[in-house]
């Protein structure tokens, strides 16, 4: 188990390998479809301080607003990452992001981007909504809440020991590609197509 804390240096990001189990702590930012589109098309400056050597989390949380106006996360597991495939590499480069957390893995364009920038893809446990919300110790601030709505807003949060697995690294390796190639062969055998 590797303990990882933000900000993450390029060197640390490049030392991570597919299959490594990670416990992440520090500040991370949620971003989904609307946020990625914005970061590619308008390149706003407000996310920069949080994203430099930082972490993007593909997540549409259930959030509770308290009477004093503060927020806390109720359920906050990862959402499917492939929707950001057209944007991810460009966002990582523009904002010097060192890790992207999501589920389901991403495609060749992102894999190439991770190599270039020196970043990794971290797979969280899909469905672990309550557990991950509990590891989110504080909501620091939120951007674009009005415009994008709760699931799509940029939530800047602090996490402690967020469990993830490196499934795409900066050396061109993807666990998703490996597993799929193997299971394709097994499936063919089981179907009598070999």
């Amino acid at each position: 188990m590797i303990k990882l804390t933000t900000p993450i240096s390029e060197e640390t990001a490049r030392s991570l390998k597919v299959g490594d189990e990670v416990l992440l702590s520090g500040t991370i930012v949620t971003a989904r479809d609307a946020a990625h589109k914005l970061m590619v098309e308008e390149k706003p400056d407000f996310p920069r301080p949080y994203m430099k050597d930082g972490v993007i989390y593909h997540c549409g949380p259930v959030v509770k607003k308290h009477e004093d106006g503060s927020y806390s996360f109720v359920a906050a597991g990862p959402t499917t990452s492939t929707r950001e495939e057209p944007y991810q590499a460009a966002v990582c480069e523009e904002y010097s992001v060192r890790a992207v957390i999501g589920k389901g893995g991403m495609g060749p364009k992102t894999l190439e981007g991770l190599q270039k920038v020196g970043a990794v893809y971290l797979h969280a446990v899909g469905g672990a909504g309550t557990l991950i919300a509990k590891r989110c110790t504080k909501v620091e601030t939120v951007f674009k809440l009005e415009e994008f709505g709760t699931p799509e807003a940029f939530w800047v949060i602090q996490v402690e020991d967020f469990p993830c697995v490196v499934t795409m690294d900066s050396h061109g390796n993807s666990l998703h590609k490996e597993i799929a190639a193997k299971s394709d062969e097994i499936a063919k055998e089981l179907m009598g197509l070999k």
């Binding site: 299959g19 359920a75 389901g104 309550t130 557990l131 666990l175 299971s183 179907m191």
Partner: protein, 288 residues
């Protein structure tokens, strides 16, 4: 509004806890995986998450799914009463954060904000001869819904003919294509025969069966067992990280088909397998 409150409680139970058979299957899966593997860690996280959600009464997963109810009611009852109660319960459950707003208008892209909309919640009605009401609820996750598939046999590419052997091939193909995308391990519902609509409907209704309870038809029971073993040989594992558990169960059912058609529908649900039922008899409500 008592009916509404009973439905609200049903939603709360489904969103914040898993049925004992599902949790038991997850414990077995944890025990099966080797120490020190990502698969073992995933199941550890999953089990801890289920416990925390139950204790805090918060959603197991933040995608609280689509609200689907199957209602069996006695002669003389009005469907309208159930529909209104279901809508009111969904609205309240959204306010209480048992449900995330998950009903989006496909024309305008606008989220209704309360899980109510056209065919949302979706209700299946059925009248029966008993003097009690049964409401079965499914909260169906979107990510896992996306990996469902429907095949038309024969399928030349897969060399799948119009028989149970052909059915087996297409189910293996669908689960292999799904990889970890539907938050594996999954539970697989298979509907054989019928038309485009009814094959999917049948496949989805299989999710109400208890895990490990075989089909009453011995041919289908044998197919379920073979598929369960074969799918777990794919080594896709939880989240697609590799591992011994790719599926937690396979439930197959068949219905008569038109001579010209042979459909096989495969519904996939993630490990956050949320289905609960309640029986209302007089003023008494029992949940299961």
């Amino acid at each position: 509004m008592e009916l509404k409150n009973a439905m609200l409680e049903l939603i709360r139970r489904a969103s914040t806890d898993l049925s004992p058979d599902v949790e038991a299957a997850l414990v077995q899966a944890y025990d099966r995986e080797d120490e020190g593997t990502p698969a073992k860690s995933v199941f550890g996280t999953i089990l801890e998450n289920v416990k925390l959600a139950r204790e805090a009464s918060t959603p197991v997963c933040q995608d609280t799914g689509s609200v689907i109810m199957y209602i069996d009611f006695p002669v003389g009852h009005s469907e309208k009463v159930y529909k209104e109660a279901a809508e009111a319960a969904a609205m309240e459950a959204t306010k209480l954060q048992y449900l995330r707003p998950n009903a989006v208008d496909p024309i305008t892209g606008k989220n209704s904000g309360n899980n109510v909309g056209v065919n949302a919640p979706y209700l299946h009605f059925h009248q029966w001869d008993k003097d009690e009401v049964r409401v079965r609820l499914m909260l169906k996750g979107g990510g896992s819904e996306n990996v469902g598939a429907q095949y038309k046999l024969p399928d030349t590419a897969l060399k799948a003919g119009r028989d149970l052997k052909g059915v087996k091939k297409v189910v293996i193909d669908a689960v292999n294509k799904a990889q970890g995308q539907g938050c594996a391990p999954g539970i697989i519902g298979v509907g054989i025969g019928g038309d485009r609509v009814t094959s999917y409907a049948l496949s989805k209704e299989q999710f109400f069966r208890k895990l490990g309870e075989p089909s009453a038809n011995s041919d289908l029971a044998a197919l379920e067992k073979e598929l369960y073993e074969d799918l777990n040989k794919l080594n896709i594992g939880p989240m697609g990280f590799g591992g011994k558990t790719t599926c937690l169960g396979v439930n197959v059912a068949a219905q008569h088909r038109h001579p010209a058609t042979f459909y096989v529908a495969i519904s996939y649900t993630c490990w956050v397998y949320r289905r609960k039922q309640m029986i209302i008899k007089g003023s008494e409500v029992t949940y299961d």
